[in-house]
Symmetry: C2
Subunit: 561 residues, 2 copies
């Protein structure tokens, strides 16, 4: 008799484990139980479906050839049995069975297994705010969510929307709704958008950017009520204001679907995710788990982490299939990579930020640069801010956050590989990235960031991050600020909100006598690239107490005069 593999959940991890098993162990009898109507769908595409970039929901559930990945497809092409609308409710580990209910008929059935895979995913959190049960209050996690939300937008009756939660999904939907002509406001408990992705200075810049697109961001506010009449949403009331809204998206987070696993006595982590080993095996050797419902490992710190992402789920599904098929395979872990398109901006992160690095026992040094993504003479040039984090002792690259209108995703993935390979900042600076003018500058933005970080680590320069600069300026003895831009740039780009003196770099060596002796001098320009040359000019003239404002006026997130 063939080996029975039962998989609960058929979206990313479950469908991948099944498909891989069908390929490497076709003798297995593979069955998927999926609570929803759809399997193997691209949930990450929902914001683009709502935004009408993806026209048909079918596009999210079909192969590139347009064939819907339904039960018949899985049967005919992959020899896998799929039961949709089938909710698994109970695991009997002794009997090695799962009880499941057919949602359409109410019929209960018992499915035996030799190996069980839990790919039960997660669910959107719907906080119990008064009014949250009304019709136009959505989450965007399941296919029915996506269909309902798109249908509401398609009706043309939604003029204004409030998104509760400025995280990844919330901000993806900002773009989707704004592009459909809807007035969008975001409310978040935290002060700035995307706090899990980027530091607060980037968040402030993102806030300014979306405000420039007509989007309101209300940070540090709490939604206290969704106001409506007869089930129709009319506004969202926060602890500070009332915002008109015909539609509300609750995007405050997700929680893992692990009640059944818990009831079966499988080991769970504190956050409710299932604990698995490197082969994705739970505390029961016949039960595997993967995807949004499990805890995984951080590749850099070695510590447990929860990273519910479609890409992670797919990778883990493969490992599960290999483990069941008896192949040697383990899941290496994750490093916290995330990415987001927001209008013309791309925002991403990978690895550890300063605080996480410190918590993990490193001595982090970080620096912020702003660089073009190709030579200024090539068409389509974009730019990006990169914050790069390394460990002072080992010089290992620990993390990076990036944002800009240039090819940010490219630099992010290169940094992902660099962190995975435990490159030092020195090796990263020498890494032989591909150069031709259509693709990068002779020294790639990553190379540049690595070199600036080396300069800082080696004590060749002192720098202030924007936040450190603001703190420094709030002290009783603020430094002298030297702005080495041209006058034209000042008009165009504005100035720091402090007293500063403007001496264009080209004339600095001649005018160095105008600077005060015995006072710290902080230099900046558009991106602080020229500030380097200014520092050298100051040094030779005997000014030793100098520093650079990282990223210049371009990366300055606060007030601009």
């Amino acid at each position: 008799m063939s080996r029975k593999v039962l998989i609960v959940g058929g979206v990313a991890c479950g469908a991948k484990a099944a498909a891989r098993l069908a390929r490497i162990a076709p003798e297995c009898d593979v069955t998927i139980l999926e609570r929803g109507d759809y399997i193997s769908f691209a949930g990450c595409g929902f914001p683009y479906f709502v935004g009408d970039v993806v026209k048909e929901y079918k596009d999210l559930v079909c192969t590139p050839l347009g064939i819907v990945r339904d039960a018949a497809f899985f049967r005919n092409v992959k020899n896998i049995t799929v039961h949709t609308r089938t909710l698994a409710t109970k695991i009997d580990r002794e009997a090695k069975t799962v009880t499941a209910t057919n949602i359409s008929t109410g019929e209960e059935k018992i499915y035996p297994y030799d190996d069980l895979v839990l790919a039960t995913g997660a669910s959107a959190i719907r906080p119990p705010i008064p009014g949250c049960d009304m019709n136009s209050v959505f989450t965007l996690w399941t296919m029915p969510d996506a269909l309902a939300m798109k249908s509401a937008v398609d009706s043309g009756r939604v003029k204004s929307a409030v998104i509760v939660g400025g995280g990844l999904i919330g901000m993806e939907v900002v773009e989707a709704l704004a592009n459909r002509g809807i007035s969008v406001s975001v409310v978040d408990l935290l002060p700035t958008p995307l706090p899990a992705l980027v530091e607060e200075d980037f968040g402030l810049r993102i806030q300014k950017y979306v405000e420039g697109k007509g989007v309101h961001f209300y940070g540090g506010e709490k939604v206290v009520e969704i106001v409506g009449d007869g089930g129709v949403v009319s506004a969202v009331r926060t602890d500070k204001r009332t915002i008109d809204a015909d539609m509300v998206l609750m995007a405050v987070g997700i929680r893992p679907n692990t009640a059944m696993a818990k009831e079966a006595g499988l080991e769970l982590a504190k956050n409710g995710t299932i604990v698995v080993d490197d082969s994705m095996r739970t505390s029961d050797p016949h039960i595997y788990a993967g995807g949004d419902c499990v805890q995984t490992k951080h590749l850099v710190t070695g510590k447990p982490v929860w990273q519910p992402m479609g890409s992670t789920a797919n990778r883990q599904g493969r490992v599960i299939a290999d483990a069941i098929a008896g192949l040697r395979d383990t899941f290496a872990g994750v490093i916290g990579t995330g990415i987001l398109k927001l209008f013309e901006l791309t925002i991403g992160r990978t690895g550890l930020n300063d605080a996480q690095a410190r918590e993990a026992g490193y001595d982090p040094v970080s620096v912020l640069v702003h660089e073009p993504d190709r030579p200024h003479f090539m068409p389509g040039m974009g730019a990006m801010s990169i914050r790069l984090v390394a460990d002072r002792n080992s010089r290992q690259i620990l993390g990076a956050q990036l944002m800009g209108n240039g090819a940010v995703d490219k630099r992010l993935d290169a940094l992902v590989a660099a962190i995975t390979g435990r490159l030092t900042v020195d090796l990263l600076a020498d890494t032989d990235f591909a150069y031709a003018p259509p693709f990068s500058t002779a020294l790639d933005p990553i190379t540049h960031a690595a070199n600036v970080l080396r300069n800082k680590m080696d004590g060749l320069v002192r720098t202030y991050s924007p936040e450190e600069m603001a703190e420094r300026m709030a002290t009783g003895t603020p430094p002298f600020i030297l702005d080495v831009r041209t006058p034209k740039e000042l008009d165009l780009q504005g100035r720091l909100p402090y007293d500063s003196v403007n001496i264009p770099l080209g004339t600095l060596r001649a005018r160095v006598g105008e600077l005060p002796k015995g006072q710290e001098i902080v230099v900046y320009c558009k991106t602080s690239g020229r500030a380097w040359d200014a520092i050298s000019a100051l040094k030779i003239a005997g000014f030793e107490d100098t520093a650079i404002l990282e990223g210049g006026i371009t990366a300055w997130p606060y007030e601009i005069k």
Copy 2:
């Protein structure tokens, strides 16, 4: 008295070394001797200048702010002395001086140094073909070259051009000239374009591609004469044909400018490049060298290699400055990365190909896949072929070649970092690349390539590269070929030039009885993604002797029926 640093050559490495020295050791007295009129120019931009993507030569020699990086700029901004039109002719290592001639005045002058930097670059090879002295026979290496060639094209009198040499520069100029309405032919001694970048199957596909753009490629031909009348080029005669031409570009390669170094008794490698240590120091401890004139180290093999690239030159310039300033810094080496834009195609490589890996003592396994760069439901989807090479024993990734109309440069740089970090194919498959639908598929093309390579290395599948397949078909007992595409695809994409049977994947399990027992079956489809599922269906039906054609019909470089 301040330390005298004399730099011969002011383009990439020389200018970078000078600028870095001015920053980290402003007490140094830095002088650059440059034979040409221009310093610190972007030579890699010349093809884009000729193609009129870059309108003004000034754009190639100015800062992003539009300030020309001339002698006055270097003096005022960086405190560096620059002598242009100054040809260094002789090093006196005893006296620590360099003799140089002012090209304008003929005046000879002696420049003393404490540290000397040789950044003398390379020169374009002009093979002594009869007729090669005529006016419209160009090389494209120096600024005068670029100005002359652009001026010729701008005149509107060039209707047809022959490019001798189908390497990087030659093929960049193919696009430049074709975009300007010139009929372009390429002649190369080797059979296919870009032999230093990609394997022959990619080369054949590139040839077909450019031929589709109206460009002629004559591989395996030797230019024997440039024909003309009264100094005006009219044709190029090869050993096989005569090609009309109003203009000829000689792009057959470059040689390092090291005659002066040789005469001074510095150690040179067999190919004439200067031998340096990891600090870029030559055999004379007071003389450093970097850029196109030196031999450097391959990071993977540890062996000497020559990689004359602007990016490498810049990195080495920094190391030289650090060494002179007494900072601890070494150059890590290169891995043979190269990239090229060719109309809508991006073509790149990094690390070792199979032959190089074998020569370096590895046991290489490689695989070819063809993958989309984002989900089919997202606009702007492109695709790419990736050939990934790993070592069978250590499973270390050794190299990759990529080409396609998708975001190839992104995957290339991620692979550059992965190879630099000595990732195994297994770790590469688990690498936490950034996923969101605008940027990649849930499993990135790199992940997919790594997984297919693992499958091959682990014996889960047998595959044929296109070349292996062609060889296999030429044997006396060719395999049975199963094409699992839909009939519509066959019409659209064509077929392999062999007998094959078409059974669409969706019906294969039902029709498996139509296949011959006891014969090897090779499966393919559009990209051979579906071939995997077909193999599983065959396996369960008792067909064990199966294989997949890598990349399917899409990556097939030979005849298509």
